[in-house]
Every structure is written in C-alpha cells, then in structure tokens.
Symmetry: C2
C-alpha cells in the first residue's frame, strides 16, 4: 500500500513531479494550487480525460505515460502526442468553451494531478511570468500540431512512420532502445494509416536493418537512414 502511493505526492511545495511550468509559482500560489488539486492514479488503459466533456481541471502528469488524441470520424483517432512526466496538459478549451477537445488515456500506470481550472486561471491572471510560460508551452504544442498536419498530409507511409519513430526516439524515450508500450494500432494512429499498413511498413524497415523488434522492445539501428526516409517522404 505504501508503494502504491509512492509517486503520488501529497503536497505541491517541494514536489519533484510537477510540471516545469509550476516552478514559476511562489509559495503562496503553490499552496493555493495545493488546496485545489487532487491526485489520481490511473491504471494503464484507463481514460484520464475524455474529449467533449466539460473541462473543470488542468492536468499535470507526475508519473507514467499516456497518449493524447483527437477522436475523429467513425471511431477513428489521431494521436497528437505522447505525454510523459512532468508534462502539463491544458488545451484550447481553457480559453474557448471550457471543454476538452482531445482525450487522454494512460499507456502505463500513471499518477496525475488535477488542478482546478478557475484557480489555475486566477493564478495565471496574477503572475505574469507564469502566464507567459503557459503561453509558450501552449504555443509549442500548436507548433507540433502544425508539424504533424504537414507530415501526415504530405508524406507517404514510410515517411510518416519514420517521423513517428523519430518522434518517439527524439522526444519521448531519448534513446535508440525503448520498451514498446504502443501497439501496432497505436503506431498506426500516430502515423495516419491502417493497422495492417503499419505492420507492413515496419516489416520493411526491419528487413532493411533499420529496426530491431523483439518482445516488447524496439531498437532503432540506423537513425540516419530513418532520417533520410523522413526527408524523402
């Protein structure tokens, strides 16, 4: 039972798990967050937030891993990004209609802090550097969506899958060998293609020696070749 709560910090002051963003708060503000947040642990596969519902809180991922995705037509989804500790998750709903415009589902057991939206906005109003850092964070998310829109609409399958793998390498795992948390289907949802096509592209990559896949581990063997495939499209 102790182990269970190990990574679920009970107070914000001195917390090592919170998003960088919150480092810009002073102790008073942090105590206010503390008094208006709840920490929840999710099992892998559970829905952390659901597109379309009312946004009452913003999120901070303390531990674990999750996928953030848009639910589209006919039950299909597009994964926008993988969220990891200690990412902050706000979204365009905060200042538009106060709804969630994407869903987030845990890929691993995860600990997440839910911070009251009104309190968050109140602090934002009172703390300039916090507000600017929030905007910077939001803007970078937008840039990654721009990038995604381009590569998903202008490249063909090998280029899209290469970009997906490079994204995982560069931004999520930051090493060539990573435990394969994502299913083939989820790799397909990151790359805007069918599950079967994802399998076939990966098979090609493996055949050409760019990749090693065993059990639940994937290893990028030839990063430069992947980068070239990404460039060529």
């Amino acid at each position: 039972m102790t182990e269970y709560f190990d990574k679920s910090p009970k107070q914000c002051v001195g917390c090592q798990c919170m998003s960088q963003l919150f480092c810009l708060l002073n102790e008073e503000e942090l105590l206010l967050v503390d008094a208006n947040k709840i920490n929840v642990r999710f099992n892998a596969g559970e829905t952390i937030k659901k597109q379309g519902t009312f946004m009452t809180h913003v999120l901070s991922i303390n531990s674990g891993l999750a996928k953030l995705y848009l639910e589209g037509v006919e039950g299909r989804s597009a994964i926008l990004r993988i969220v990891k500790p200690t990412n902050f998750i706000g979204g365009p709903g905060i200042y538009s209609d106060q709804r969630h415009h994407f869903s987030v589902t845990a890929l691993l057991d995860s600990s997440v802090c839910f911070i009251d939206l009104q309190i968050f906005k109140k602090i934002l109003r009172g703390n300039q550097s916090f507000a600017e850092e929030f905007l910077k964070d939001f803007s970078e998310d937008v840039l990654s969506v721009y990038n995604r829109l381009i590569y998903l609409t202008q490249k063909q399958m090998p280029g899209r899958m290469a970009d997906t793998l490079l994204y995982l390498h560069d931004e999520i795992f930051q090493q060539p060998k990573f435990s394969m948390i994502l299913s083939r289907f989820e790799l397909a949802e990151l790359s805007a293609m069918s599950r079967e096509s994802a399998v076939k592209v990966l098979r090609e990559f493996r055949k050409e020696g760019l990749l090693r896949i065993s059990d639940h581990e994937m290893e990028i063997l030839d990063l430069e070749a992947l980068q070239k495939i990404s460039r060529v499209g």
Copy 2:
C-alpha cells in the same frame, strides 16, 4: 490617389477596420498601438508574411482577403485558413521563438496593419480582458487546426472537398454564391489533394447538381447533399 487610401485608416481611435480584439483597448492603449503600427496595402498575389522570418509585428486585416498556409515538404503547402477583414493574425511564434510559422499571401488587394510585437505584448500584460480575448482567439484557431487535421487525414477526397466548400460557405462568404477567388490549385491545397484530383471531384459535384461553376463564380446548389458527403467521408 484618394481612392487608394480609402480603406487604409490612418488612426486607430474610431477605426472601423480593426480586429474585434482591439475593441477591448482603452483610448490610451489604442493611441499606443497607433504610434507603433504601420499600414500597408498589398496587391493580390503579394506575400504579406513569410514563414521562417522573424516576427516583429502582429497583423490586423483591414480589407481584402488572404490565404494563411503552412509551407511543407518539396514546395507543397497546406492552406490553414482564409483570412478576411477584420481578422487578427498572431500565431504560435509570439510566445515561442518569435518567428513566423506560416505564410500569408493576399488573394485580393488588401490593407493590413502591422502592430509592433513588443508593444502588443506590453499591452497584453497590462490589460487582462484583452489578454483573455487574445487567448480565446488563439484557441479557436487551434481548434480549427484540430478539425483540419482530422478531416484531412480521416476522410477521402469527396469528403475533404465538401468540407472545404462548406468552410468557404459557412465561415468566409456566408452565402451560397461566391466569387471564386481561389484557384483549383488552392482548393486542392485546402483539401490536401492534387490539383487534378480537385478538378475531378468538383466535376463530380457539378455533375450531381450540387454545384454550379461559371466564370469566376461558384454557387452551392445543394448544401444538404454537401453536408452529407462531409459526414460520410
């Protein structure tokens, strides 16, 4: 000569052409904007702002029409939206790296105000409701990109073209008959397909009586059928 400057207001106070956003400024702030803005007229086809360059100003479209687009791989572009009077154009560069992350090109002769970025940010810091309206505006742009990402990656050509036409109808011209400012190539760039495919899809729409195209005018004859095609994908 008088005619030339008709739609290029020289002062911000009392200006009817500026973005809604600026209505939240008081006279003092408006005078500050006034002293730090320049107004420029562009001919159709001219580049108003270029992706990759430094962002020194934010924009407000006084008159005319323009396309806002991402420059992608191999010279290809994806049009994100059409901008019309009196749209504000900021973008994710303001609070990230102060660069332009999309290009804007005039479709019609246009009058545009360039407002100094540092002054804009300064006013933003001092005026809460202005800041929140800016965030709302930005957030709605982000939502439209989410929407675009979904429809461009999950629908096939007829659905994508239908969405493009419905977008023009609902949000830009707001009437079934509109002068066709966009070339077939630009309709293709809005719908993530080749020029030839755009032509073929439009031909089908015309053959089925959904559309009338003559000279430089396009008329949507069957809005409901287009909406159905949009839904079916």
